[in-house]
Symmetry: C2
Subunit: 533 residues, 2 copies
């Protein structure tokens, strides 16, 4: 399955429908996070000519992709998923090597099946076509539908999901292609080998499906300034980014200034509120549940609970004792990279300096591997409220900050001073005890997040059309769009196309009198129907 | 109905639920465009403290508005529409005085009824609730719905629709309020008196409806730098702007850099393609149809055809002759302001200097009033293609540029070099003659515009959910959203709110088992239904 290494043993990039030697001056290697050592494979940092080549290729076929039959896109998703499944063992092994994420259950039984499920769901949604939200006014003969942007979509991979959020296999790729846009993928430098294996299968699937071979191109890495130049290039229509706030904001500014759409998932602290009475009922099991969520993927989830808010009463003290005991007794997970480790050290130091109290952990562990103790901080609500921004700095790793409120009013003040997050969770008593307080706090939390949870940790993100994985700035750039959930995630890369007085035989199939497949839902004169008209 | 004038005879602004004296150093007066003279009424240019006051007030009640029952918002729309209808004569007279737009049919029979219709349609949509697009996954107990942004929406009025696009009575206000957001309106300095009359009714309707009185506030004017400060203020969530590209881009950059949503309608050239055979069939009537569209509202429509593309054959020459005759013989309309007149002069000069040939008009008319001759230019396609950007500069006024292509290939090249527009129109023979060429040109036009028309001028924009009044950059900032069309226009100011495992009695009514009104469409487990589950 391997491509032959090019001279100098630097892996080629996927450009114009083939793996070609990159135009590069610098190279990089990924780490084995479990040993802390560099892996032997060498990958190129592409210079601008590679990016330009990719742009020209993508641009050239934008019309072909825009008019591509849905069946061909669906076939590509299925063929690609088939190939991924056939090569599961090699892919998962490589991902484990490059990320140290556990084979079981994470890679084998959770992330890989999720990646496959996304392709299968997408293939079905593409065939069914309801995602296009056809709206038809038969009286005025005006009809609208979602269609392609007519430009390139650039997708940036995050470090923390080498499979299901990989730029060459995740929801961004699926969504951009479904809408009929060519895609340029940037791998994450933490797992280039995983990306390489999947890209090879992607090219095979492109060939089998009959899609244009340059529909998806992939570069391993490029310089930051070339990234800014890329996202603001005239051929680009939209950008999908999942990663750090700093990089995200720089790309966002460059892209939007040039009139491009930017969808970024940039930072989220995911507050969890335990209302007073639930802690009286089951402090111990909730402490365990919280730790499990905080330490999932070694705390490297976008939805990791990074802030916990409780009342500093007897039940609260008891809960904090339980939590401290768990954080103190559990082993450290392995972090993805030296950068994540450094960032976590900085975060812990910043919290200390800002006056948070260290209750457990707080130190990196000696080699081998990038490890940091499970770390628990607490801070009085009054102190949190002095510098709410500082105490809400996201840090990957098993680290969380418990805010201790002296009164319910203080808890409410904390809620009011939250920044935008992907999620907010509220645990409360099943009795009536917490109900009144729930209704005081809920309206604030509702406006601070995309997904509000009851009695549940935020780390599971189900792939369903009812899911919303997004949230108010700075969690993302637009709180109306989700990056997870099919077909809802598609809409980020769609333009609205209206047809006014257009002759019946010139309309897209989906807007004609006859329903194109008897299954597509359409809004005809105010009524949703799967029928003709 | 008039508010008493404050001292110095400067009209007060609408802040915090009452008309108060503005904090101002400078004042302004509107023109009577028909005479070219200033009208006597004096309006304030607010200093920052007015903007800050408005922000504080709006911010204070964001939670109250976010949880406001739909019935109350619908009642406000109906009450406001009732009051507007009762005061139609005064409003329309004032609008005519300040804009010189004709009473008949424009203001009385077209724009006023359209404004009222928008409120009535909105009231119905708000009561029906389908716009919230509830998606429910009953198996996973995950549910999502559109809800408020949790911040202020700032609305900027354009100059060209004093009624139906006025910031205090148009689709932006309706949409922002429907989603539960407080609104700060900036009047257009061209028609402050019209805005004043409507704002007084707005306040009365707010009082009668029981909405918080600061839900909508209005300032007449402020400095550009204060506008930039306003749209990037922490309390602001989104901005709606309709106006010039220059102002729009400056506001867009400031807003987006601060993480705010920006919806701008900034510029559109609205190309009209006459395919070769249709011109052989009916050159004369098409020339008349084109002139009517170009001169509607004295050419001051966002959807005015500013570019016409034809084949330079015998039929094309004939068409151009007809068109020249009409442009040369028709009277000049009155322009909205000296600024529009200046801009039009500049546009005509730029076209001349760039090498376009003047076929009719081209000169301003002497006083009284702001008038410019109906103006027709032509340019060979080859020359257009040398500087396509320059030849696509939008200018309000009865001015259009005919691009003369020597071949069909050149027509296609022009299509390929278009910028994003709100609309593209194609006229073609009803016989098969133009069909093949239609299919060559359509894919390019489709990606360049929001609304594609057949055999129809773009200047009518019907208010229906199937309408799309938006388009690719630089026509607007996001091609997925429309500023006209109910309820589709609402979604610009909505965040997606997901409820994960939230207890039934804590869910918004729209997401509970029982359908809230038996009429709301909801997507339950993949099927649209008005039923319970």
């Amino acid at each position: 399955m391997r491509t032959n290494k090019e001279k100098e043993n630097v892996y080629p990039v996927l450009l114009g429908g083939q793996f070609r030697q990159a135009n590069y001056r610098e190279t990089f290697q990924a780490y084995n996070p479990a040993t802390g050592e560099l892996l032997p494979e060498t990958y190129p940092v592409s210079e601008w000519p590679d990016l330009e080549y990719a742009l020209e290729e993508s641009h050239r076929l934008r019309l072909e992709l825009a008019s591509c039959p849905p069946e061909r896109i669906a076939a590509f998703f299925d063929l690609y998923a088939d190939l991924l499944e056939k090569n599961k063992e090699a892919i998962v092994r490589q991902a484990n090597l490059e990320t140290a994420l556990p084979l079981e259950p994470r890679l084998n039984s959770s992330e890989f099946p999720r990646m496959i499920s996304q392709f299968r769901q997408a293939a079905e949604a593409v065939r069914e076509r309801s995602w296009k939200q056809a709206i038809i006014d038969t009286k005025l003969n005006i009809r609208s539908i979602y269609g392609p942007l007519g430009g390139v979509v650039v997708v940036f991979s995050p470090n923390n999901f080498p499979l299901a959020f990989n730029s060459v296999a995740g929801s961004d790729l699926i969504s951009a292609l479904t809408c009929g846009n060519p895609v340029i993928c940037k791998a994450h430098p933490g797992h280039p080998g995983t990306t390489r294996l999947m890209s090879e299968l992607l090219l095979e699937a492109l060939k089998k499906s009959g899609l244009p071979l340059s529909a998806v191109q992939m570069l391993y890495h490029f310089k930051n300034e070339d990234g800014l130049k890329l996202v603001s290039h005239p051929y680009v229509a939209a950008v999908a980014f999942t990663g750090s706030k700093k990089s995200g904001l720089a790309l966002k500014e460059a892209a939007e200034k040039a009139g491009k759409l930017f969808y970024g998932e940039m930072s989220s602290i995911n507050p969890v509120f335990f209302l007073p009475d639930i802690l009286k009922e089951k402090a111990r099991s909730l402490a365990a549940e919280l730790f499990t969520s905080c330490s999932l993927g070694a705390g490297q989830f976008c939805t990791k609970p990074g802030l916990v808010v409780i009342l500093n009463d007897e039940a609260g003290e008891n809960f904090l004792r339980e939590l401290t005991a768990i954080f103190s007794s559990q082993p450290a997970g392995i972090l993805l990279s030296p950068a994540v480790l450094e960032n976590l050290k900085t975060a812990a130091n910043n919290l200390k300096e800002a006056g948070a109290k260290l209750l457990a952990g707080g130190q990196p562990l000696p080699p081998p591997g990038f490890r940091f103790q499970p770390t628990l901080f607490s801070v009085p609500a009054a102190k949190f409220l002095e510098k709410p921004g500082l105490f809400q700095t996201e840090a990957f790793g098993t680290l969380t900050l418990v805010v201790l409120a002296e009164t319910r009013e203080e808890m409410l003040l904390v809620a009011q001073n939250l920044e935008g997050s992907l999620t907010c969770s509220v645990y409360s008593s099943l009795s009536e005890a917490d109900e009144k307080f729930y209704w005081q706090i809920e309206p604030w939390l509702r406006l601070k997040c995309g997904r509000l949870l009851n009695d549940k940790m935020p780390t599971g993100v189900a792939v369903t059309s009812a899911m919303h994985h997004g949230g108010p700035f700075p969690a993302t750039g637009h709180p109306g769009f989700t990056s997870v959930g099919i077909p809802t995630a598609f809409l980020r890369f769609a333009a609205r196309h209206c047809y006014d007085n257009v002759r019946e035989d010139r309309l897209p199939e989906e807007l004609r009198t006859k329903n194109p497949n008897g299954r597509m839902w359409r809004l005809i004169d105010g009524n949703w129907t799967q029928g003709d008209f």
